[in-house]
């Protein structure tokens, strides 16, 4: 359905909603409780993984696998939980520190689940690289507008979360392997004990340079 086929007034409603979201995302207050959001979600998921039914379905135990599940959740949900402030160049520093505080808060939750044993401490570097890449991509989008932030989220999910699916589809339909995509998928890398930090570090650094370097877009 093209824009011209929308019912009367619908396009205006969509435009108004986008403007409201854009305006909301331009307020620095939205990032105020981002770390609280990360902590709440991860603690809730940690509690969920302890439920016998969930544990049985996911093949988890009340041991190191419990913490590992929280780590996987932390890595997978980073693109969804991070809320950058849309705006000018000066908001970029705020976004960078916001990303760092989310990483620290998520890391604190992971280390709290260390009572069950596991490798939480050794995954902190991977987690830092994921948060760097995620916050970098979204912060660069935030220099433009809220729509670019949402596109950035889709891009990150496709890039970080779906390589295992691409691999499967390649195997199934093209008879080729996509195992080399493991380098950009932190969850896949963690699951196979072969996490690669450098692609995430590269993406994060380039995006942050871009976020600080992009000229501010003047709108009327």
């Amino acid at each position: 359905m093209s824009n011209s086929q929308l019912p009367t007034g619908a396009w205006e409603t969509v435009t108004q909603n986008s403007q409201i979201i854009d305006a909301a995302l331009r307020r620095p207050e939205i990032m105020k409780f981002n770390a609280l959001l990360v902590v709440s979600v991860l603690l809730a998921l940690g509690g969920l993984f302890a439920l016998p039914g969930v544990r049985q379905a996911a093949g988890l135990g009340l041991d190191g696998s419990w913490q590992l599940a929280v780590i996987h959740a932390e890595l997978a949900l980073a693109p969804l939980l991070y809320l950058p402030v849309v705006g000018e160049r000066r908001s970029a520093l705020n976004n960078l520190l916001g990303g760092a505080s989310c990483w620290a808060a998520g890391g604190a939750v992971v280390l709290l689940f260390g009572f069950a044993g596991g490798a939480g401490w050794s995954t902190r570097a991977l987690s830092a690289c994921v948060w760097l890449a995620v916050s970098g991509v979204l912060a660069m989008g935030a220099r433009r507008d809220a729509a670019m932030v949402q596109r950035g989220r889709v891009l990150l999910l496709a890039l970080l979360a779906l390589p295992a699916l691409w691999h499967y589809l390649l195997l199934e339909y093209a008879g080729a392997t996509g195992a080399h995509l493991r380098a950009i998928s932190p969850n896949w890398g963690l699951a196979t004990n072969q996490p690669a930090l450098w692609p995430l570090l590269l993406i994060g650094t380039l995006c942050w340079v871009g976020a600080f370097a992009l000229p501010t877009r003047r709108t009327t």
Binding site: L36, L62, D63, L97, S101, A104, L111, F115, G117, W121
Partner: protein
């Protein structure tokens, strides 16, 4: 500069401690029983300026440590047990050597006892008890170097002592002989039986018997699964076939008083290929402690309040973020201080008994590989004479068989008698199957021990009383583990 000079002066002798590899060797060479510990003479050099030095004998999964007093000398000699295996290493300071292994491998054999012969005159001993292709396999030592620790006798089936001159055995030998016999070894003594110490607290042997071997009378003391045979030195010397007399005495013990060797392979301390471990228990379920709830609550509070408070104090949002990062790092650090669930150490035991009060135990121990992989035993610790060796086990776990001499246990059930491969009315395999099904007193972990022991030993010529539900007088523990006993059985050897 002064400190640097001092450090160099102090460091120089420390760095120099080493082995004299040309003079260090297995005392049993060229013989050696693979999978057991054998006596190894270590020549240490470069000890100037040191009071003591620690020698470590390392094999797969096990390290034995011995302190050696240097006393200002530049060289020292010590005899330590070294594992006869490719994995054996000796370490002093930063120096590690790989001992040259004995070339002749001695397998357990009912007909050929592997024997350590101690004598005031080794040449005479070689004449009386020669090492022959069909008889005993002997290593010869001087009597004054008798080992004061049974762990140096680990590989041997028998010990023969020729002592015509009333020489006192060195200190520690009484305990070593008692330990060795309780583990199923046999000691033959020709001549005097005097120890270099008194007041050693070891259990008394059983009442003596008076067997006669080819016209030579002996005094036999049953000692748990082992025994001590004593001959008069002159009677043995006057016998026309002294070596056959000693051979008969060895067979009398090893063949359980029967006139021919039992079928199968004799029990030895070589680690089994398949150990009698029950299926491993799952790891201990972790549960959050009050510290977890406290830190989680603090984290939620900090994440909720820090931005608000920072916003009241300053208009700069970055300050709130920085405060939050620091607080989260602190709480995460607190999370690291939580106690981890301890790895579960599973222990099973087979208590070996025979005549009299003495008994010994072989503990089968397995633990999660998160615990570590090296079991360290101090050879200078008088409170324990345990000797571990690594046993193969499924991936992700570590396992050892630990021989413990002179232990005792308390029977927890009615014994079953094994004779001619039958336990009561049942064949030994049916009896083991019945145990696995919970049909007799050997339930749970004991069924694995029973099944394993019967498969190894229920051959012609072996009789035993099998008692379930043993509890040892002394438990077994490793640091930072949670111990769970999986079961124990007592095997009391029956002689024909």
């Amino acid at each position: 500069m002064k400190w640097l000079l001092l450090m160099v002066l102090l460091g120089a002798p420390l760095a120099a401690q080493s082995f004299d590899e040309a003079r260090s060797r297995f005392l049993s060479a060229p013989h050696g029983r693979t999978g057991t510990w054998a006596p190894y003479r270590v020549e240490l050099t470069g000890l100037e300026g040191l009071d003591t030095v620690t020698v470590r004998s390392v094999a797969t999964g096990v390290a034995l440590e011995k302190q050696v007093a240097a006393g200002g000398l530049s060289r020292a000699t010590v005899v330590v047990p070294v594992f006869v295996h490719d994995s054996a290493r000796l370490q002093v300071g930063d120096t590690i050597i790989r001992p040259e292994l004995p070339t002749r491998r001695v397998e357990p054999d009912y007909a050929r006892a592997y024997t350590a012969v101690f004598s005031t005159d080794p040449m005479y001993a070689r004449g009386v008890l020669p090492s022959t292709p069909t008889g005993a396999i002997c290593d010869y030592y001087a009597l004054d170097e008798f080992f004061g620790d049974w762990r140096l006798l680990d590989g041997y089936d028998a010990v023969v002592v020729f002592n015509p001159t009333d020489l006192r055995l060195p200190a520690g030998s009484q305990r070593a002989i008692a330990d060795f016999c309780s583990l199923g070894g046999v000691v033959l003594i020709a001549g005097s039986f005097r120890f270099g110490e008194s007041g050693v607290n070891v259990p008394a042997p059983a009442e003596p018997t008076l067997p006669v071997f080819r016209g030579v009378q002996a005094l036999r003391y049953g000692y748990g699964a082992g025994a001590i045979y004593r001959f008069g030195f002159n009677e043995l010397r006057d016998s026309p076939s002294a070596h056959l007399v000693l051979g008969d005495a060895l067979h009398d013990h090893m063949w359980f008083a029967a006139n021919r060797a039992p079928a199968g392979t004799p029990e030895s301390r070589i680690p089994p290929t398949r150990a009698p471990h029950p299926s491993p228990l799952p790891r201990q379920a972790a549960a959050p402690a009050p510290l977890f709830w406290g830190l989680a609550g603090a984290l939620l509070l900090v994440c909720g309040l820090a931005p608000v408070i920072a916003g009241r104090v300053t208009r700069r949002v970055e300050v709130g973020h920085l405060a939050l990062i620091l607080a989260c790092l602190g709480i995460g650090g607190g999370g690291l201080a939580q106690e981890l669930p301890l790895p579960v150490l599973e222990v099973s035991a087979i208590v070996h008994a025979g005549e009299g009060e003495p008994a010994s135990a072989r503990l089968y121990v397995q633990v999660d590989d998160t615990w570590g992989d090296l079991l360290t035993v101090s050879l200078d610790d008088d409170t324990t004479r345990d000797l571990p060796r690594h046993v193969g086990v499924q991936p992700g776990r570590r396992a050892w068989a630990i021989d413990r001499p002179l232990t005792s246990g308390h029977a927890g059930g009615k014994p079953a008698s094994l004779r001619q491969g039958q336990v009561g009315e049942l064949s030994f395999r049916d009896f083991a199957t019945q145990a696995h099904r919970g049909g007799n007193a050997y339930s749970g972990g004991e069924a694995y021990l029973l099944d394993w022991w019967l498969e190894q030993n229920a051959y012609r010529g072996r009789g035993a009383l099998l008692t379930p539900g043993q509890s040892l007088d002394r438990g077994f523990a490793l640091s930072n583990t949670s111990v769970i006993w999986r079961g124990a059985i007592r095997v009391t050897t029956i002689r024909e």
